[in-house]
Symmetry: D3
Subunit: 189 residues, 6 copies
Amino acid sequence: MKSLFLETNECYDGSQLTSLRNYLKFGILGDSIVSWIGPCHVTPEHMVDGEDLLAHAEIRGEKMLHFIVELFDSSLFAAVGIQRLLAAIVRDSLRSASTKTALVNQLTRDGDDIFCDDGKLSISIATQSPNSSLIHFAVNVVNRGTPVRTISLEEFGVEPVVFAKTVMDRFVQEVNSIREATRKVRWAR
Amino acid sequence: MKSLFLETNECYDGSQLTSLRNYLKFGILGDSIVSWIGPCHVTPEHMVDGEDLLAHAEIRGEKMLHFIVELFDSSLFAAVGIQRLLAAIVRDSLRSASTKTALVNQLTRDGDDIFCDDGKLSISIATQSPNSSLIHFAVNVVNRGTPVRTISLEEFGVEPVVFAKTVMDRFVQEVNSIREATRKVRWAR
Amino acid sequence: MKSLFLETNECYDGSQLTSLRNYLKFGILGDSIVSWIGPCHVTPEHMVDGEDLLAHAEIRGEKMLHFIVELFDSSLFAAVGIQRLLAAIVRDSLRSASTKTALVNQLTRDGDDIFCDDGKLSISIATQSPNSSLIHFAVNVVNRGTPVRTISLEEFGVEPVVFAKTVMDRFVQEVNSIREATRKVRWAR
Amino acid sequence: MKSLFLETNECYDGSQLTSLRNYLKFGILGDSIVSWIGPCHVTPEHMVDGEDLLAHAEIRGEKMLHFIVELFDSSLFAAVGIQRLLAAIVRDSLRSASTKTALVNQLTRDGDDIFCDDGKLSISIATQSPNSSLIHFAVNVVNRGTPVRTISLEEFGVEPVVFAKTVMDRFVQEVNSIREATRKVRWAR
Amino acid sequence: MKSLFLETNECYDGSQLTSLRNYLKFGILGDSIVSWIGPCHVTPEHMVDGEDLLAHAEIRGEKMLHFIVELFDSSLFAAVGIQRLLAAIVRDSLRSASTKTALVNQLTRDGDDIFCDDGKLSISIATQSPNSSLIHFAVNVVNRGTPVRTISLEEFGVEPVVFAKTVMDRFVQEVNSIREATRKVRWAR
Amino acid sequence: MKSLFLETNECYDGSQLTSLRNYLKFGILGDSIVSWIGPCHVTPEHMVDGEDLLAHAEIRGEKMLHFIVELFDSSLFAAVGIQRLLAAIVRDSLRSASTKTALVNQLTRDGDDIFCDDGKLSISIATQSPNSSLIHFAVNVVNRGTPVRTISLEEFGVEPVVFAKTVMDRFVQEVNSIREATRKVRWAR
């Protein structure tokens, strides 16, 4: 699995959650994770989360740290599991990166969401294209422009670019070792 | 997904990692997690982890808290991801359950292993039978009888039965919400 | 599996055979069957049955009882099998519901079609979306507006709303017990 | 799909539900259904139905009409659906073949079981081998030697060999048309 | 598997690589290969090969022998393997059909490409639709209108229509025997 | 994909066609091909080819060059396709390696078999284990001990160890590029 931090400040509007994008735009072949910092404004036509569509939710933020993952030879069931591991890695990495102990101790993961007390740190969705699984995960860099009460990396005193690379490194290691684990176990009866 | 704490002190020898066991022995149909406290001594014939087989590893412990998970409509790739979420849940639950702050702050998850400093808290394997995915996860209740340097629930001052139920509750909720998440997302291009 | 009778008289034009519709419009999560009474006029752009397309068939009826089924974790091969079970259930339910013995004794199922002598009672198609299987099944409530010789619930003296609920109940029970059957059988060599 | 009536009176003990048997014993390649008349006595070691195992059920009959189906490129979910279509075909064929109107009108299908009033006509199981789906379906030819109240072809005045061929013909036609149906439908969104 | 040589000189522009086309246009149900002679000009919107898209490649030829294959119950991984067998068959058939020994001895297959010295004989792509695998393979009939150095059937003195039929016959036989091979082997541990 | 030439003269008796063997015996993780030179004598209990079993075939040779391939995330359908590519690679490599032009020009591939005139050069089988695909391919090094008319590397004047490495190199490159090809193509409608 490959990773790349992108020097762009592109707005994430949902259209980026498309198969092969990491290959066709950045030449990264196979399982991959890319990351960049930019606004977030998901338009209804690109909204894939049925729950958000039912609730007419707004998905917005002025400055977020985005991750997009593409996995091949994966089902949606597997991808949602891995999405949640990504949430767990983000939370663990934030705990290590931040010196704000009081805040850090309130970090909880609920499914694919990370909260700190009643502030929402992140948004995420996992979906399936006809040839791959796709995950979007984004963390608030600042709290501006978000439709609900949020918390952001700023309050944790965490620099987003370094953080992005730490998260991607751990995630790549996690997915690689999951793939390996499927090739070294004998089947059971 | 259903869960059950078993009032037994059966030794886990690896033969329990068999498809349909939770149904055929306990009448639990479908996705399930069961748990009990007992010794652990995995004999080579039931050892499915190729890495352990290559290393002639010993898998032993005098008293461990065992979890066995069975998942249907799942690939091994998905099951390994979910095994690691179980590890994350065990670690988070231990952090909440224990008052030994110094110890708790040293808890780390590395793939499917949980460590506290250089002590190993747990063992785990995920495998596939022809009709389901199977996971064994076990946590030392005491340190006796283990072939490597370990740490145990005893040192964390955590009562294993209550702990087992907490872990199973969180895990059931996690897997249920993963299944749901696969049924409410639109596919992407 | 959930079911819902819809108080609408929407025309079925084929656009309704779309993944997640039952969730996004009616909040029904997971495997589902919905039913309503309304006209039928499938436009070529929404026609998915290649045989109909090749034959330039017209798919029309002034008043039909529609069923739409969505199944997750299912292949098209499985879905076509289940579509035919739905046809069998419709026929059996009609036999029970109607007192017109002479007519009832002429009811036959041929694949996914139900005939009574040379009158066609129903139309149906099963297809696959990238994340689910989809089935449309519709029974004539009256014979008006149909392009071939048809027979309808009217001639059987059967009230369509009660009939719809009976069919849905039996179908839900059938699919649930099929799912269960896949979780309680040992694999064979 | 191919079919063959076997001139044997072999006892069905469950060992016959093995992948490739129709090919390795009778040279029939691919999807197949075979049939023969013989006793039935399934020993626990070959019992694959977990429900029967849990209930310590006896599966016996002195003279039954057996069908064994093997399907390739099929999941267990699909196979259970098709098993029930086989049950529906058996019931429909019996209705056509028998002149005992009173009895015939009491025939009902409940999942994979066929009943006539409170008499059980048939037994069945569908399972999965690592390379195919397998179905056993058997109908009592006489009532002797059965552990529950049964009904048999004898009471319906139906000759089993002709009946077997009729059932196999309809089943082959059903499965062939299901396969075809998966190759002529456009996918949906 | 069925084959058909088409009496058309349609330009291949990439839009032909669509599921069910062989059925919906020519009535050929199931696995199929069709062939015709015509120009080639793939427009970017119908270009599915990411490598070509990244390289802004031109895919053109004034007169090519086209093959389109559709395979059901197949993964993309399987389809790419079979695409390369098609390339191997084209090369072998050309070797047999041509009397230009010097040229023929320089024919090499590199993945899905066939070269003769530094001249490219063919272009090809394999992709997946939501309900089938699709392969396009085309051989230059003449060298005109191609964006790179090519070689063509003309130089080999090979008549394209006869050649097309030979290739299709061998390919049909190959795929049929592959399907059969999956139904006559016992599974391994 | 990894390859390894083994310094052993072990007799291939069919027991070697077992999942994870390349990992558990040689530490090679993931897709792999190994090769060695040794006798061949497949006992009926390890014979997986149903055709051989039906024909009571003998599978023997005094000295053969064996290849065993293990592929993960692969179906049997894909594996049989890749087995035939291996046959094509063996034939092409032999053509390049040998200076016996007359013989070389008679080499033909028929499915997974390679013939030279009426002499059989090779034997092969592809099968599926519950967690991988497995291929055995073997080429006669000498003609002794074979039950049918054979031809061998000796007659081609080809040194088997160098030949084995050439074949494995080409095969690894082929499979790697097939995997890559599945990750760089856009899906089709």
